[in-house]
Symmetry: C2
Subunit: 393 residues, 2 copies
């Protein structure tokens, strides 16, 4: 069953308020086995809402609209649904009585404009809204369904949970389990990850998607099945293939950060690290110190000024000497250029050299990335932490 | 000039990441005089993206897509635009050279899949992307424009600011100023506000929209003009009409809260308030104490248990006596039912009585709203603060 959501409201379209409804609905739909393929956002205009619904009817089986069911002049969803489904609006006396009763109970004066909330498209199934005044309705047209929900989140969620989702669940034949697992890589560009797993990305169940972040790329595996066990099996099989391709480019899972993994590794070995930074300005030490193991694993951290020689040899020497002087188990030296004009996308992208000394071995790398802007600092920090990770493994 | 934005990405559609791009673009478009009428969100599928573009071409003059221009298997915007505009993709040698050069400068290995980023729809105008690898392109078809931008926010914004917005500004004939002013009402239902200003809500410039919040309703007036002065004049004229209709239902402007306004009023008069609460559980005193004037204006605050008589007379007596005992200038008593089963939308909506004693006058009101859940507490708190406001004016 294919779905489309239509979020109605000029404030939504123009970004004055955030559309939390569409996101919530998207997640709930997947749980009942309904595939969401389009989300449209449109303002409070009958013609445009009708256009959106009409077009949605050509490509979806169930259309859920949110918003525009209030009593004000700008609430025109009823009119738009009626127009799009070629019918008129009729006054439902029972809905009107329910609205009157609710106002009477609140001891509040019912406005004439609230009467319009009792109008629904001819032939629509009305569903009383026990947590607001706007009744919900479902219009069936040519074997498809247009379901109109209130925009107020708590009202929409209540009606979805108690009436609409159970109804959809019956139509799709049951509950589906959707599970996801994220594998996190770093120090490898997104295009390189894609090159290594391109064929896996064409899988339809589970699906494999990439999500790029500064300095790192996530691989998300998502499976859909009737039981949790089946979904986990599908994910595990695909995870094995992804790991086979990406090996130790994968540093962690879920939402683990590089520093989280490094801190855990160092603490497990009872290792303490001494760090010397230039262009990253102390941010690498900060990342490690912020971890729960922070105080245990960071022996010393310093900032170096005036490093003129940006060579792998110099970085290695500094890392080894720092390790000795500080009495640490592992030394990290990050020497990068500090010219404010340098940035990842400019004429001059800068340079960095990073060295990690463990006592038995010193690894060193040079990169054509440097500078002191945030993007470059993140890029270099993640590379440095990854080198520490590999040295500690 | 009418615009539509198409946000491309399965992660966006399913709500795994927030679509900040569409909101940012919406705001920038209004500044250059382009009207945004639809926003569509669609996943990484050539057929569905093409469907969205094709339909957008029937109702907009300029279509802006974001996302799907990367080098991975899931990046299919190029193919979709080509399909929707009935043309093939061609390799642009100059774009390819630019991409190669950028990788060489970074000292990073260019992947074979990056080559696909140099393909653009035949006849498209390529625009180099100096802050990423994905070139941007504009396709002109039947007098309309499809502009494809990267999904990475900083890249998209840079290209919009430096290339696309200036280009659009030329096409629409100049800069527009969009100004908004919000008038805040409380203690009056949304439908009542709408009933009083319904004809004003049909205005097209300025526009007048309602935004409902728990216990209060905003009226937002938005004007569009060539100069700031013109926009301000339009807003002022409409504001005058709205104020004429709503009078002192309007308690403030912008983002002012009721407690903010009340605290300012009390401090200006050097008044101190003594508060006794039941079902609102101290939240009214909390709201006032949190204001900068808090310590100066709240003389005393207490919670009452076991108030059995919920009458206006009892509330008035408590407010007056509390004022005397505490030596305050104004006394507020809020007596409400405390049954956990009561809620705004249930069988039993509860009751409250509120009284405000100023020494010269005691006002009192009864409401069919009570209970201890958050919604009811907000509703009653705002009513109480509004009564204090009116007493202090």
């Amino acid at each position: 069953m294919k779905a489309e959501t239509i979020s109605i409201g000029t404030e939504l379209l123009l970004g004055h308020i955030t559309d939390t409804n569409a996101v919530w609905i998207a997640e709930r739909l997947s749980e009942v086995g309904v595939d969401l393929y389009f989300r449209t956002t449109v303002g409070d205009n009958i013609g445009r809402i009708a256009d959106a619904i009409t077009h949605a009817l050509t490509r979806a089986d169930v259309i859920l609209t949110t918003g525009g069911l209030g009593p004000t002049v700008d609430d025109v969803t009823r009119e738009a649904v009626a127009q799009a489904t070629n019918r008129d609006l009729v006054l439902d006396e029972e809905l009107l009585a329910q609205i009157r009763a609710r106002f009477a109970k609140w001891g509040r004066e019912m406005s004439e404009n609230n009467v319009k909330q009792a109008y629904i498209p001819r032939g629509a199934i009305p569903i009383e809204n026990p947590v607001g005044t706007a009744p919900v309705f479902i219009v069936e047209t040519e074997g498809k369904y247009v379901i109109s929900l209130p925009g107020v989140p708590r009202e929409m969620k209540h009606l979805m949970e108690t009436r609409i989702l159970p109804w959809l669940r019956e139509k799709t034949g049951g509950e589906w389990i959707i599970l996801s697992k994220t594998l996190r890589t770093c120090a490898i560009g997104e295009s390189m990850v894609d090159a290594k797993i391109a064929d896996l990305e064409t899988s339809t169940n589970p699906t494999v998607g990439l999500l790029a972040h500064p300095g790192q790329t996530d691989v998300r595996v998502t499976a859909k099945a009737k039981t949790r066990a089946e979904a986990e099996t599908l994910i595990a099989a695909m995870e094995a293939k992804v790991r086979e391709r990406l090996g130790d480019w994968i540093y962690g899972e879920g939402s683990e950060t590089v520093e989280e993994v490094v801190a855990r590794l160092l603490a497990a070995r009872n290792w303490r690290i001494a760090i010397a930074e230039t262009n990253t300005a102390g941010k690498i030490a900060e990342r490690l110190r912020a971890r729960p193991e922070g105080a245990r694993i960071v022996k010393s951290a310093m900032l170096l000024d005036n490093v003129t020689e940006l060579s792998e040899q110099n970085a290695a020497t500094i890392a080894e000497q720092l390790r000795n002087v500080a009495g640490a188990d592992i030394g990290l030296a990050v020497l990068g250029t500090t010219n404010p004009a340098q940035n990842l996308y400019g004429e001059d992208t800068g340079q960095s050299v990073i060295a990690v000394a463990t006592g038995t071995r010193t690894t060193r790398h040079a990169y054509s990335v440097g500078g002191i802007n945030e993007q470059a600092q993140i890029w270099v920090s993640i590379r440095a932490l990854d080198l520490v990770r590999r040295a500690a493994l």
